[in-house]
Every structure is written in structure tokens, then in C-alpha cells.
């Protein structure tokens, strides 16, 4: 039995499964998984077809962090903490929107839990609806690019800063473009007692409108344009960033994805692209990303 799969129903090229497998392997399968409702849950936990080789629970959309806290308390009370680490897998909507209350509670109480936000930047399980982590200008079904509006209005919620503000010992971002980075961070998180928040960029082939072969290249471009900075905080202090050798203009990332294609023709598209470039420049300056 492997820790995850075979037999899951993810699309070819799915970013979530790459991230999930690497997290579980980094923990050598010694973990309890609490999973929110969403893509990962649906593709892996059908009755009689579970793809999970580790103890796994799915309760609701918005409570995976609280369920994980409960597992932690039970293991403590029953003196079974040696059995393994506790990991949450939750999507960006479950994390930043509907489940932000229970997540905040779990972080605030500093439960010994590794919270993994699998960030594919929209409610992709149900077909690309806008979430708090959807980036500016992205075309979703609940805020589609129309004659008047150019997709999402407003920027991607800064969940990383929100997590840091809870004063938890470890916060990081990562990307499926750099699986060894995922593994290193998860292993490090496992060594730290208390709440850990790791947000992993996981492209969605259907929602983003990319080919299955483009998952890793597009994740890499998100990093190389500084739209998705890869950073690491310990005890509230930024301790490490992944440096960008030759930063690319955001257009290179935007043009390969269907969700941003309208920006190149929409009357307000150029304005949005300029704003996205400004966000990327800000990220580069804020985290000192350029070599």
C-alpha cells in the first residue's frame, strides 16, 4: 500500500496530487490526514475506493483545521502522540474563505498540526468559481470576464501574512514546480512543535485552462514572475526566500492560461496586466526575490 494512490480520480497533470504525494512521502506516511471537502477529497475518498494509505478523515468543507485539532487532543489524551503527525489538506476556498474561522482558531491555539493549503486559486472541484485566493483578473464562472468586468476585481488574499500574524512557529509557501522544496519544508515543519501553515501553489489544468503537460511549467512561471513568491517564516521572521535568477514579465505567465487570456483583448485588460506586474514588482521588492 502506498500513502496515496493508486486509484485516485484526478485529472492527468493535476497539481494537487503531486503536492499531496510529496507531503505524505516527506512524512514517510506517519501521519493522520484531515481533509476538507473539495477536489482532493472527491478524487480520493469515494466509498470502497479510497486512495489513502494513511488514516484519513473528511468531515465538512470548512472544518478540517478544527477536526485536526480534535485528533491532536485525542492523541494527547489517549497518550498516542507517537503514532504520527497531523496534517490538514485543504483547498484555497476551504482555507481563505469558508474555513478561515476554524483555521484561525487552530492557529491561535497553536495545535501541533501541519496545515497544507493546496492553492489552485479557485473552487476547482465545482468548476472554477472565484475564491479569496483567486488572483486579480482571473476569469471564473462566478466573476466571468464580460463586456463590463475583466474577471476578478481585487487582489489575492494574503493568507501567508494572516497565518504569520497568528504568531505560529512556522509559515511557508511552496510550489509543485519545486517538489524538493515541498519535502524540505514539510520535514522541517514536522520537527517543529505547534501550528504550521504551508501554502502550496498547485495548478489546475481544467480551471486554469492549461494542458496537463503545462502544470509544472506554469507553476514555475508563477514563481519566476514573482506572482507566487516562495518564502519561509520562523517565529514571525522571514528566514528564507527562493531567489529568482531572471525575473520574467507577468505576460509570460498569463498568456499560457485560458483564465487570463481575455486580458489581452479586454478594454480593461492592459490596466489589469499593469496592476498584476505592479503586484509582482512589489513581491520582488518586499521579499528581495531578485538575485
Amino acid at each position: 500500500m502506498t500513502f496515496f494512490g493508486p486509484g485516485h480520480g484526478a485529472c492527468p497533470g493535476c497539481g494537487l496530487t503531486i503536492a499531496t504525494r510529496n507531503v505524505l512521502e516527506a512524512l514517510e506516511g506517519k501521519c493522520f490526514v484531515s481533509n476538507s471537502t473539495g477536489c482532493l477529497e472527491i478524487i480520493s475518498s469515494q466509498y470502497e475506493r479510497s486512495a489513502w494509505g494513511v488514516p484519513y478523515i473528511h468531515s465538512l468543507f470548512e472544518n478540517a483545521a478544527a477536526v485536526a485539532a480534535g485528533i491532536e487532543l485525542a492523541l494527547k489524551a489517549l497518550k498516542r502522540t507517537d503514532e504520527g503527525k497531523i496534517v490538514v489538506f485543504a483547498g484555497d476556498g476551504a482555507t481563505a474563505d469558508i474555513g478561515v474561522g476554524p483555521l484561525s482558531g487552530m492557529l491561535d491555539r497553536n495545535h501541533d498540526v501541519i496545515y497544507i493549503c493546496l492553492d489552485n486559486e479557485a473552487y476547482q472541484n465545482t468548476g472554477n468559481q472565484q475564491s479569496g485566493l483567486t488572483p486579480l483578473g482571473s476569469n471564473t464562472t462566478t466573476m466571468p470576464a464580460g463586456e463590463l468586468y475583466p474577471g476578478k476585481i481585487g487582489r489575492k488574499k494574503d493568507m501567508v501574512s494572516i497565518a504569520v500574524a497568528h504568531g505560529i512557529p512556522y509559515v511557508a509557501t511552496s510550489s509543485v514546480a519545486f517538489y524538493s522544496d515541498i519535502r524540505r519544508k514539510v520535514k522541517k515543519a514536522a520537527e517543529i512543535e505547534g501550528a504550521k501553515y504551508i501554502q502550496i501553489h498547485t495548478p489546475c489544468v481544467t480551471g486554469w485552462g492549461i494542458d496537463g503537460k503545462q502544470t509544472i511549467p506554469s507553476a514555475k512561471l508563477a514563481f519566476e514572475t514573482a506572482l507566487y513568491p516562495i518564502v519561509e517564516y520562523e517565529n514571525g521572521k522571514l528566514i528564507r526566500v527562493r531567489k529568482i535568477k531572471e525575473r520574467k514579465p507577468v505576460e509570460e505567465y498569463l498568456k499560457i492560461q485560458r483564465r487570463f487570456r481575455h486580458l489581452f483583448t479586454h478594454p480593461k485588460g492592459q490596466e489589469i496586466i499593469r496592476e498584476l506586474q505592479r503586484i509582482a514588482d512589489d513581491n520582488a521588492a518586499r521579499f528581495n526575490l531578485d538575485v
Binding site: 472544518n63 480534535g70 485525542a74 489524551a77 474561522g101 484561525s104
Partner: protein
């Protein structure tokens, strides 16, 4: 040990003796002092091998218990009203996942308008949710039913959440003499929790799977079967309580004067004590009235209720909630138990949002029905004249 204590402490002390592993709590009036008492015990080191946590909401508290219960812990929380509504998504989920979480609901009205006072509108909302529900009349009964709730919920034939309902303020804040249980007796009655399955890395299982149409329905049939089995398990536990502890609270229902009563009055919760007193007095006056106290509300004891009411010409139900657009929920249920019989049927919703229910009002409602002075059907009792603003 007999002590004069408040309802909160009666519950908290019984919870302590039941040795839960995880307690998750969020404050809400009139429940708060239950978890405050538990918090004090925790802080003083009186809760052995127990983790107590204050959640960020009732939703969070119930969710914490889902994780803890699935990991094999005995779990407890208390809530009511808006808190119960906020918990409801989780509690229904816990029922489907067959997690034996025990909660005490200190029945309180629902908003709007905001009311912190007692009625049964909150628990009635979860009528169809797959939770075992009982109602208690006194703080002694609340105290005694806590260990019983764990025993029944955790029975491998049952494995369902258990909601013990006690009237907010009427019981929670009331000082009553309570015979406090001791560890020896509770240990004799309630064994440690041995979950049939649990989350463990030794044998990794998937909990909370999703079920497409080809297998969903069987899970729901299994839930219904568990509720049916819970009837027998509860009945047995009620009897065993009497054997081990010596106090007899009766079964799913308790009937007085059912053999020859022309009018049977149905009541649930703390109102029952006064209704019983009124009925005794009316008996002394020669009126053939009787009482049916409903203790178990889910699973619904339809056969026991039918047996107790079968001889009466008239039934009167005191409701503490309304199914708006229909009538009182207990009346609806009792009528379903009487299907095929045709007694005259009356119900009164009383004491909504903590409205006082004076003794003379109970006397009047019962005698009005007994003497044929009111029409059959659903009524409100104790409502003052008012004008609705309709524009």
C-alpha cells in the same frame, strides 16, 4: 452524597465522573456555567487524562469533537439555541459518520427576536438529524442521564451522537437537592470507551468517505437501523441504571393514571413537574385526568406512547415549540403514534422564550379541555392581546 446545587454543576460533576478524553467548549447562556465548571475542574487537575479546549465557535467545538471521537476519544460538549444551530452542520455530519459525541443542550429559544430564555425550539430543529434526544425533568435526572448518554451513544449497536436536553434557566440555574454520583458507581455502570474502529496509523482507515447514488442510501438505512436499535439499548440502559444506582426514572415514557384517564396530558421537560402536581390535584377533585411524560424523543417511542394513550378520549399536549406553518412538533409526533385511533386532540404552545407558565394557567388549560370548553387543535397559551403591524 446529597447536596443542594445548581443544574450546571449537576451536569459538570456527572461529566467528570464519566471520564471524557476530550471536552471542547464555547460559551453561550444559559449553558456557560456547565463548561465553566468543567474548565475549573480541568484547571485544578481534577479531569484525569482529559484535554479541555475552548474553541473559536460552537461550530469549531463540535468539529474538534468529530476529530477527537474518530480518533477514539470519549467526547463532550454543551450548547444551546444559536450555538446548537451553528453546530448543526457538524452534528448532522457526526450522526452520519456514527460518532458517539455526547452533548448537553440547555434548551433556549431561537432568534429573532433575541431571547436567552427557555423553550424547545432549538432541539426541535435537529429532530430529523440522527441524534438521540432525551429530555429531563429535574437536575437529578440530568445528573443521572449523563453517564447513561455515554453508555448508550458508545454502544457498538448504536454509535450515534446523544443530545441530552435540559431546560435552560428552569433547570440550569435552579438550586435543587441532588444525590451526587460517585466514581465507584459510575465506573460500574459505564465502561471505558472501546471504539469498534478508530483513526490509527497501525490500521489506516478512511473516515467520512463520499458516497455516490449507488451506495449512499444504504448508509442512511444503516442510520435508521441504528436509531431503531437505540430504542432497545436505551430501554435496557434505563433499567440497568435502576439496578446499579437505585433510582428509577422509568422507560422512554412515564404514564400516570393512564388506565382510566379520560384526558391524558402529554408533557416533556421541566414543565412536567408542575403538570403532574396539577393532575394529582384534579384527580383528588374526581377528574379523570392522567399524565404522559415523554423522556425519549429520538428514537421516537411511538409504541409506548400509543399504549399509554390508547384508553383516553382526549389528548392534550403541552408544546414548547412551534413548527411554523403547522402546529407544535410534539403534537405532530404524538398524533403519528396514534394513527388509526381518533381521540379528541388538543395542543397548547406555552412558555415560548421563557414566558412564565403559571400554575393556574395549566389548571385552566387542562380543565377547559376536560370540560369541553375549547375547540380541538393547536392553541397558544398565555399570550397577551396585541396588534400585528401589517402594512
Amino acid at each position: 452524597m446529597r447536596k443542594v446545587i445548581r443544574g450546571f454543576y449537576a451536569v459538570a460533576h456527572a461529566v467528570k465522573l464519566s471520564k471524557p478524553s476530550v471536552i471542547a467548549a464555547y460559551p453561550i447562556t444559559p449553558q456557560t456555567e456547565i463548561v465553566e465548571n468543567l474548565a475549573k475542574m480541568y484547571s485544578n487537575g481534577e479531569l484525569k487524562d482529559c484535554q479541555y479546549v475552548t474553541a473559536e465557535s460552537e461550530f469549531g467545538a463540535a468539529s474538534i469533537l468529530v476529530g477527537a471521537s474518530a480518533t477514539g476519544a470519549r467526547t463532550f460538549t454543551a450548547t444551546c439555541s444559536q450555538g446548537l444551530v451553528l453546530m448543526s452542520e457538524v452534528l448532522l455530519n457526526a450522526a452520519g459518520m456514527r460518532l458517539p459525541i455526547v452533548l448537553v443542550n440547555t434548551n433556549r429559544a431561537l432568534s429573532a427576536p433575541l431571547s436567552i430564555w427557555n423553550d424547545h425550539q432549538d432541539s426541535m430543529l435537529l429532530r430529523d438529524g440522527g441524534l438521540i434526544q432525551i429530555h429531563v425533568e429535574t437536575n437529578q435526572e440530568a445528573h443521572d442521564m449523563v453517564p447513561l448518554a455515554f453508555k448508550v451513544a458508545e454502544n457498538p449497536k448504536v454509535m450515534l451522537p446523544f443530545m441530552l436536553n435540559m431546560d435552560g434557566f428552569k433547570l440550569t440555574h435552579a438550586y435543587e437537592p441532588v444525590d451526587l454520583l460517585d466514581e465507584e458507581h459510575v465506573d460500574k455502570f459505564l465502561p471505558p470507551y472501546e471504539p469498534p474502529v478508530k483513526m490509527t496509523t497501525e490500521n489506516p482507515l478512511t473516515f467520512g468517505c463520499y458516497a455516490p447514488p449507488h451506495c449512499y442510501m444504504e448508509f442512511r438505512v444503516a442510520l435508521q437501523n441504528a436509531m431503531e436499535r437505540a430504542k432497545g439499548v436505551l430501554e435496557k440502559a434505563y433499567r440497568e441504571w435502576t439496578e446499579v444506582i437505585g433510582r428509577d426514572w422509568g422507560g422512554h415514557v412515564v404514564a400516570d393514571y393512564a388506565d382510566d384517564a379520560e384526558l391524558m396530558v402529554v408533557s416533556m421537560g421541566s414543565l412536567t413537574g408542575m403538570v403532574r402536581d396539577v393532575i394529582r390535584e384534579l384527580r383528588e377533585e374526581g377528574k379523570k385526568v392522567g399524565l404522559l411524560k415523554i423522556r425519549t424523543f429520538r428514537p421516537f417511542p411511538d409504541k409506548e406512547i400509543r399504549d399509554a394513550l390508547i384508553n383516553a378520549n382526549k389528548i392534550l399536549v403541552f408544546e414548547r415549540a412551534v413548527s411554523f406553518g403547522h402546529e407544535g412538533p410534539v403534537g405532530i409526533e404524538v398524533k403519528s403514534a396514534l394513527f388509526g385511533l381518533s381521540p379528541e386532540f388538543y395542543s397548547y404552545a406555552v412558555g415560548l422564550g421563557g414566558r412564565d407558565v403559571p400554575r393556574e394557567e395549566i389548571v385552566k388549560m387542562i380543565t377547559d379541555v376536560y370540560d369541553g370548553r375549547v375547540e380541538q387543535g393547536f392553541h397558544f397559551g398565555g399570550v397577551k392581546p396585541f396588534e400585528e403591524v401589517i402594512t
